[in-house]
Amino acid sequence: MSERRPNFNPRISFIVNGERRTVEAPGMKRLLDVLREDLHLTGTKEGCGEGECGSCSVRMNGELVNSCLVPVLQAEGAEIETVEGLGTADGLHPIQKAFLECGGAQCGICTPGMLMATAQLLAVNPHPTIVEIREGLAGNLCRCTGFKRIFDSVAAAVGKMDASAKTGGAHAG
């Protein structure tokens, strides 16, 4: 085996919200920190640093992950979606609209993670039962709402996305 020179700052490239991004960072830097510090995407939050609260949730290659537990090297070549890619002020995603209308956000700190978990849930299961909604969001802790209006928001989002699908809208799941 040839002599290996350690590389503590490799170039790592991945797609974030549809855009190719490249960083030079230690492989063990957390994806969460790369998003927030290197890419200045501060929508994704840190609440616990140990994968318990879900406020760092993002979608990676179509799966929900806690970005505080992903070493950025393992995100090489991945497609990552964060809350910043979900919608815009003029074009809110139906999930965002639903949370707005149903009181799904109070202090808002869990909201980005909650929205990504909802997006993941509805991508995999467009018509979840309340039991499935509870399970889909069980990894996202909210201290303000008692979850009730978050469940209502998810149910409302289902309705909106169904309606959008019928009219062939952009957010049809």
Binding site: R36, T42, C53, G87, I109, L141, R143, C144, K148
Partner: protein, 753 residues
């Protein structure tokens, strides 16, 4: 658009004032903020609960010239946090009185080098014997605070308790305990501080009370008022945990900023926030109750003890509220409450949603069910026979001048929960089921606003102004942290003036911009500050009528045109109002007698619980909460407050245990401090009865804390119903339920031998 009797905006579900930023990930919380050339701050903390500091060592493996190092010696002003007393130091000086007490502060531009440096500071102590519980403090050996370890005491007396025992048909005693509870806001504490010679110190932070921080910094930094500026950043949850602690954190960051000459950010991670910041006061409450043959209360002798931690902070006011809520919503001719807050060598306790009431109400509502069982009366009936009604007096001899509708709330709660039918069904099903079900209730009030003359002392000032750009701004120091402050105060302003909700915005919570309208605590915002904004709005319109030619029925354009005419006269358009105490509020702070609170919110809650006899774990199947909080200003926000408070109350009862090891929180991680998840919180049904309050903002009374008062006793009463055993201590984890059942079994076996 004009002034109108009917509410157009208040009472409707307008969109939250902060708009869509939270949903887009654009809301900027403290740790999202980066400043050029920013340094980071960290804290070296005590590892023992009590002792003398013999030496502070700085390991030579670190190049300390790169760091800014701050100790108590660097404090330009007073080494104390200005709260009620001034016994809490900003930093330990020669002695530590609790684990995690700040001893050395460090700042450096590199977070990782900072981490290494914290580990490279070694403290040598001469340990002293600590007091680590109420009982240890009561022994008064060692004395760890003042002359007798007593942070505060109260004595409340009504009638003559001692005369009642002889004639009582029943006497029932009980002891009830509550543990510490952590706020677990999902955003940890954090501040950024910046010093400049021109402006002085500016602090941005996740906080509830900018003027508390302001006042503290004046003393610590020895600066004049105009050289200290405090700005609240978007705050990710608070629940009381950011009421006083930010004063300490801000002082630390400010000291580092001043000494280093750099902007300094201090944002705690979860492990540090859990271990080092405030929590709910643990309590022990003892009841001795005399009743007549019909179960009517003759006398209540109550002893309240709280654990205040190492410094007094808010222990006196928490104790006050506990004292005043300990007799429950009942009529009783003879009441004595003896209460004490005890100093221990643990992290000082602080404010947490309910502020002494959850502790006191847990005890009295559990005790009512124990009384019911002891004397053979249904717990619902027992409460009915003793409920307060209009015109009756409380333990402080306050006459209930506003309507008291406890019976109505109880009726509704029983109906909505199908209480009697469900209990019948469980009585049939439980014997053959491994999972036993039951229902429990709790009835309670929560005094809105500060106790007695507290509001007079606060002397709050709030206002409304109009900018040249045509925006009506609410000027308050009250903070949004999810509960909806921004929204409801904007609603009230729009309503009272007679303009659109969208024309109103909140001025930034910046002590350079807004007046001191008091802290965002004690469920006072909608009632007290809302009333100030309501008056300010009416006052503004009045002035515009008088001096700027505004007609009685005006359009939006006419309103703003009149404002500009006023601006030409006065140079500004602003309307301020100062707090005015309602008529007839008399409170004797010495005797603890009179109008304890200007208004009360009322509630009855029902919990259906399921106890799994294989695993000893209790869960809440379903929950109902009926409440009267005056006018509901915003149905979605109000509902959210009740549901969130109930969820925290469920955590308080069954999940959230602080594990102590030698005075330190051993389970300071979210993996091990357990709050209920989306799969644990049951369906919560809420119902409002509305009776507008004469002196609350647009008729509102306080709402935020009320819902946290009832779940714990309702749940433990439900457990008693389900398995016939009363548990008197929370949090009640399966291990605790098992241990008590096991102990009872062993006792029974021993007795049978």
């Amino acid at each position: 658009m004009s002034t109108s009797e009917k509410a157009r905006i208040v009472g409707t579900a307008v969109p939250r004032k902060e708009g869509v930023d939270k949903l887009l990930g654009r809301a900027r919380y403290l740790d999202d903020i980066e400043r050029e050339g920013m340094w980071f701050g960290a804290t070296v903390r005590s590892s023992i609960p009590r002792g003398l500091i013999r030496s502070i060592g700085f390991d030579r493996r670190i190049d300390w010239t790169e760091f800014t190092v701050v100790t108590a010696a660097d404090i330009p002003g007073k080494n104390h946090i200005h709260l009620i007393n001034t016994d809490q130091p900003v930093m330990a000086d020669g002695m530590v009185n609790h684990c995690e007490e700040a001893i050395v502060l460090l700042a450096h531009p590199d977070k990782h080098k900072l981490r290494e440096a914290v580990d490279a500071v070694s403290i040598e102590y001469e340990p002293l014997k600590p007091a680590l519980s109420i009982e240890e403090s009561e022994r008064q050996d060692p004395i760890v605070w003042g002359a007798d370890n007593i942070l505060k005491s109260f004595l409340l007396e009504k009638g003559d308790v001692d005369s009642a025992w002889a004639t009582a048909a029943h006497i029932v005693e009980g002891e009830y305990r509550t543990g510490a509870q952590e706020h677990l806001y999902i955003e940890n504490n954090g501040v950024i501080a910046e010093w400049s010679d021109e402006s002085g110190i500016t602090v941005w932070g996740s906080l509830q009370c900018p003027y508390y921080v302001h006042k503290s910094l004046l003393a610590v930094l020895d600066l004049p008022e105009d050289k200290v500026r405090v700005i609240q950043t978007e705050t990710g949850g608070a629940f009381g945990g950011k009421e006083d602690y930010p004063s300490t954190l801000a002082s630390h960051a400010a000291l580092l900023a001043m000494k280093s000459g750099h902007v300094v950010k201090m944002a705690y991670d979860r492990m540090e926030d859990l271990a080092a910041t405030t929590k709910r006061h643990p309590s022990r409450v003892r009841h001795r109750t005399a009743l007549d043959r019909d179960g009517r209360l003759l006398a209540m002798d109550i002893e309240v003890a709280t654990d205040g931690g190492a410094y007094s902070t808010l222990s006196s006011t928490v104790l006050s509220r506990a004292t005043l809520h300990s007799p429950g919503p009942y009529v009783c001719p003879n009441v004595r409450v003896t209460s004490r807050s005890w100093a221990t060598n643990t992290v000082p306790y602080g404010a947490f949603r309910g502020f002494g009431a959850p502790q006191a109400i847990f005890a009295v509502e559990r005790h009512m069910d124990e009384i019911a069982a002891a004397i053979g009366i249904d717990p619902v009936e027992l409460r009915r026979r003793n409920f307060l009604h209009d015109g009756e007096t409380t333990a402080t001899e306050q006459v209930m001048r506003e309507p008291v509708i406890l019976d109505q709330l109880l009726d509704r709660a029983l109906a909505e929960s199908d209480y009697y039918e469900r209990r019948k069904r469980f009585a049939r099903e439980n014997p053959s089921s491994a999972v036993k079900r039951g229902l429990g209730i709790a009835a309670f009030y929560h005094g809105a606003g500060f106790t007695g003359s507290g509001e007079r002392y606060l002397n709050s000032l709030a206002g409304i102004d109009v900018t040249p750009e045509g925006k009506v701004r609410v000027l308050v120091a009250n903070t949004e942290f999810g509960q909806g402050t921004n929204t409801i105060l904007s609603q009230i302003a729009a309503e009272s003036i007679g303009i659109d909700y969208d024309d109103v915005e909140m001025a930034p919570v910046d002590t350079n911009v807004v007046p001191n309208s008091g802290p965002t605590v004690a469920s006072r915002t909608s009632m007290v500050v809302g009333r100030l904004i309501e008056r300010a709005g009416l006052q503004l319109v009045g002035v515009l009528h008088e001096r700027a030619g505004l007609k009685q029925d005006f359009t939006r354009d006419e309103f703003f045109a009149a404002c500009e005419r006023l601006r030409k006269q006065d140079g500004e358009v602003v309307s301020r109002c100062r707090y005015e105490a309602p008529e007839g509020i008399f409170w004797d702070d010495q005797k603890y007698r009179g109008e304890a609170y200007p208004a009360f919110a009322w509630s009855v809650q029902v919990a259906q619980v399921a106890v799994d006899t294989a695993t000893y774990s209790a869960e809440v199947d379903e929950f109902w909460s009926v409440q009267e909080v005056g006018r509901v200003l915003h149905p979605v926000l109000a509902g959210g407050q009740i549901e969130g408070g109930v969820a925290q109350g469920i955590g308080y009862a069954l999940y959230e245990k602080v594990v102590w090891k030698d005075g330190r929180m051993a389970n300071n991680q979210m993996t091990n401090y357990i709050m209920p998840t989306a799969q644990d919180v049951p369906p919560i049904h809420i119902y409002f009865e509305e009776i507008p309050c004469r002196f609350g903002g647009c008729g509102a009374k306080g709402i935020g804390e009320l819902p946290h008062d009832g779940p714990a006793p309702a749940i433990l009463n439900g457990i008693r119903d389900a398995i016939g055993v009363g548990f008197n201590s929370i949090p009640l984890l399966p291990e605790d339920l098992f241990a008590q059942l096991n102990a009872q079994e062993s006792k029974a076996e021993a007795a049978a031998v």
